[in-house]
Symmetry: C2
Subunit: 675 residues, 2 copies
Amino acid sequence: MAPVYPESASGKAPNRQIQLMQQARDGASFDSYELACFIHGGENVLKERRLAWERVETLIGTRDTSKLPQSYGNQNREEMYEEGLRWGKIIFEDGLKFKHTFFKHITPRYVLLNSSPFAGKIIGAYCSTELGHGTFVRGMETTATFDPETDEFVINSPSVSSAKFWPGAIGFSCTHAIVTARLIIKSVDHGPHFFMMQFRSLEDGTPLPGITLGDVGLKMSYNGTCNGYAYFKNVRVPRVDMLSRHAQVARDGSYTGTQSPQVAYATLLMVRGIIVRSVGFQLAQAATIAARYSVVREQGLGPNGLGTSEAMLISYKSQHFRVLTLIAKAYAILFAAWSFEATYKALREEQENGNHTLLSYAHSAAAGFKAWSTQTAADGAEDARKCCGGQGYLIISGLPEIAAAATATATFEGENYVLWQQVGRFLFKVMDALKQGKDIDGNLAYLQEEYAARHQTSPLAFPGPLRSTSICEAHGQDFLQPDVQLLIYRKRAFWLIESTYLAVRGSKRSPADAWNEHMLSIISAARAHTEYEVLSSFIKVIRTLPPSMSPALKTVLTKLCALFALSNIVNPATTNAITFLECGYLSADQVRTIRSLVNELLEQLLPDVISLTDAWDFTDASLCSALGMRDGNVYENIMRWVEQVPINQRAWKQNKGVYQPGWNQWIDPVLKAKL
Amino acid sequence: MAPVYPESASGKAPNRQIQLMQQARDGASFDSYELACFIHGGENVLKERRLAWERVETLIGTRDTSKLPQSYGNQNREEMYEEGLRWGKIIFEDGLKFKHTFFKHITPRYVLLNSSPFAGKIIGAYCSTELGHGTFVRGMETTATFDPETDEFVINSPSVSSAKFWPGAIGFSCTHAIVTARLIIKSVDHGPHFFMMQFRSLEDGTPLPGITLGDVGLKMSYNGTCNGYAYFKNVRVPRVDMLSRHAQVARDGSYTGTQSPQVAYATLLMVRGIIVRSVGFQLAQAATIAARYSVVREQGLGPNGLGTSEAMLISYKSQHFRVLTLIAKAYAILFAAWSFEATYKALREEQENGNHTLLSYAHSAAAGFKAWSTQTAADGAEDARKCCGGQGYLIISGLPEIAAAATATATFEGENYVLWQQVGRFLFKVMDALKQGKDIDGNLAYLQEEYAARHQTSPLAFPGPLRSTSICEAHGQDFLQPDVQLLIYRKRAFWLIESTYLAVRGSKRSPADAWNEHMLSIISAARAHTEYEVLSSFIKVIRTLPPSMSPALKTVLTKLCALFALSNIVNPATTNAITFLECGYLSADQVRTIRSLVNELLEQLLPDVISLTDAWDFTDASLCSALGMRDGNVYENIMRWVEQVPINQRAWKQNKGVYQPGWNQWIDPVLKAKL
């Protein structure tokens, strides 16, 4: 039986949702195309990317958004993996043909980033993490024992927990991998080293003898990739296949280690920078869907007393606040990525001259930006999903997948709680240097100034001062000034760093115990410092907008920056917001003023809510969301996809609307039983 | 090719993880069985439930936890639905046979709660929500037009957005439904009324003429149920099938409405109470898995400088804080559910005597407890998932499913943002009453006292006082006293209610606009009030522990209560924590003291972390988690399940470890291409 459509489902005239979307889009105070060019780095880049996405989406088959995306119908593990390979191949070949690599650096279609194992003549993997050992590399168990007789290393997995577990593409895709294993020579353990290993025959894909490979099964997202596991049993690797830039084993087994990891770090930093940028786009995707749904979804009589017609969801202040602050955060992440890219470029230039002075700062900035932006994006995408109510719970909304993809980034390439502690360690070293009157990295001048301000009045000693080095004297509209905002973040950061530093360094416990005791404060301090740096990056962008930019756009970006700075202070969901007051710089009165300014900014930015998200330039295919399509035609979009769900098609085509296997086996017997 | 197992995978002797778990369990200061009896309401109830779960799990087939749970292998929509029906039937029949209904009231195996459409001779559904209309019932579009000629109502879906969407079991399972539709008589719209409709033939399940039914497709969770959609085209329903307790239509079409929804509300309240209790168990499940993983997972050199051996994850303060505070929250939710059940019981007794005075308070308490507990459980389950790092991202960890199931509760049976506003409205009415010198509900005596305290010193007027009615004079160990803790929550709640009330009532805008402008503050006030009530409930349980309870258990529960009360103030993730300081009752000094007391409580409770979770009495089958099994044998549990993943089995059995469809079609062509 074909489904019975009500008359209006054919959608001949623009329906109410389409009209509401058009109205919301028309209200913008600026041209979203101008902002799109700015986000993507210029009109030429934007045009090139649009062409690339058009080619790729056409080949993939997602450009026709009237069709239910395959993965939303049935999430079968095998199908998802094959779909990932198919997409990966299309993207890889497009990059080869048109000589670009930007799919690796920007991910409007977030699912693409990790879906491709392809690299050319071999398919490589990086195989480090073990089932029992992640962050702590030195704890790894896999062994590479040198056999001087054959001039080979013998690779073994000595226990269940030593199984390599999680590496992307090792389940069924890769042919080769760089494997970390403990180097053992004549019973001496030299710790983890890198070995290039062939995992599979290039001819037919069969795993080589002694290597067991498999898939880790379904994950919350990234199911286009075969994250896998590997066991090794007496696998032999030629001596020359140990990576030997930093350590060498000679023919006679003698070992030479040259510890110079500085350059190797650079790759890690680059990857973290890419993650920051990517999660900015992920949060923007989620915010785009939530914004679009919020201007076409109507609910209740409305806060503005509009009589009997219902009110757009966005007009409810809680929704209005959440959607716009999420948008502001997406921009903040993007601009933090730009800032880090500049730091990274400077570092690479330095390093080419053999100079590594910037490395400590860059390493800390990468850790902080990565931890902050991934948590912000993951929490934000999840909140965007909740902003869409029940509809956001549907897989076809796209939001569960975006939120699940974003939340993975909080764990991979450095678990966030570990990264925060790395930032904390760096900040403590800076405080040590300040105490000893030494120079510190110029990027941290604010700590030097704050330290000097404190030092003039009182010496640093545990338990330390309980208050910020000064008291905020701003009032009213003053808080819209970037310098005033920056000071709020700066005073809070320094106070947290200082008081935690004094508590840890002044503790009578062992350094390790003192660190652990104050770990939560250390994390808070590291986060507050990073939030200061994120706001600095945003403000720097605002202050260096190109002269050619239209005044209307400049105004909107400036307001968005102020909204970001101020809303974080009063947002009930802000992590550790209590410290804005606890440090003593702000008063409760001033917080009340900030709340009211945030309300004003929200009102001023409301007409631009759609254009601020349009500017990220997602296509409907890339958002892959029945709720988030550009036309706003949300209800028809939902029904169009839902009707294509395989279980519905099967029931209608085969059985007049009855799902026979369920009915016959489980329901009918209960109905006909004598109870 | 069979996988190559390393020698130790056979697990003959207890491995290190099993030893660590045993050690952690042995360290407890109390008997977890005693606590299990307390949680479940007595030893007899606990025994009865254990027997029931044993029967049901045996029939379902999950009792053998060496087998990969089917839904973790391949999440095919059809299979998940059929699995849900199978489980539902087993549970339904067990309840009939053994005469119990507790599966509906408590859900240690959370997946059961919503998996069953079974009710006996018919299969019923409640069909209200439409694609375009959820919370706002009056906006619904489905029509029921009275036809006086045939004495029937004619049911129609006039638009796409009028499709019934989301109701559980309507996709393919239900035979009958109670449908809400606008009653139209002689062109007069009488608004939404209820109609009993038959949807499917009891003989063969075919949808009746004019009714289109389908599934809404994959959701984040609850895929054992066919949440569905329905369109109606001229479906005829006899006049007598309109539910007529509160409104009647006579044969001639004359309409009589008797608005008396008080009793109908009671069902809604009961459902919300059940949700509170259920999400307490859900959070406990997630916390149990995280706690177990945290005592057997080792990582890094360890904060305590333990030399070369790695440290248990739980010994890192951030993990220690998160896991124990999540456990405390699960108990807080359970005790809030007990408190609400007592209120509900009192309400029903009143109502049987025709008295509804308690209804307003009970309605507000249900809304607040439901909103608070579902958000706490959803955020907490997600944080528990993150506590397990990468492993928590695996579907076989069980955590993605628990977190996804918990987060649904924030939306259904009253969306939380809507519920917070209902609490706010109730609190404002109480403030109105206080202002007018009227009596208020005795459950809110604290507001009366605070109001009186304020009134003695200054009259209430906008913008109102910026500070709490008094200043906290506690110091040091004082903060461990329940009365001191309660005052902190109480002063903050009153200050938020009072200042928001004054801002809204004193506004020059229309009441609706003023409400909207201050919506975030209203929500904060409603939440703070609820947090005061939740803490009151916990403290009440602690103060009325049975005399027969062992002193050891009493001590632990008392500390857990203090941890709950104090950690919420300093937890960086607490919603709106800034108001603890903003209200002016606490000082920054005192917050520092509280931080240090929380640290002490965490240390004291660490030995009990496993027993506090064991006491919820989940079986391994019910946790359904490779990470969370009681034995702690996490790595072998993971590998045992992963090896059974169908894509692995297929690759090994058919193709020597090659996943042929992927290799042949996508990988091999790239490897052999001339690049």
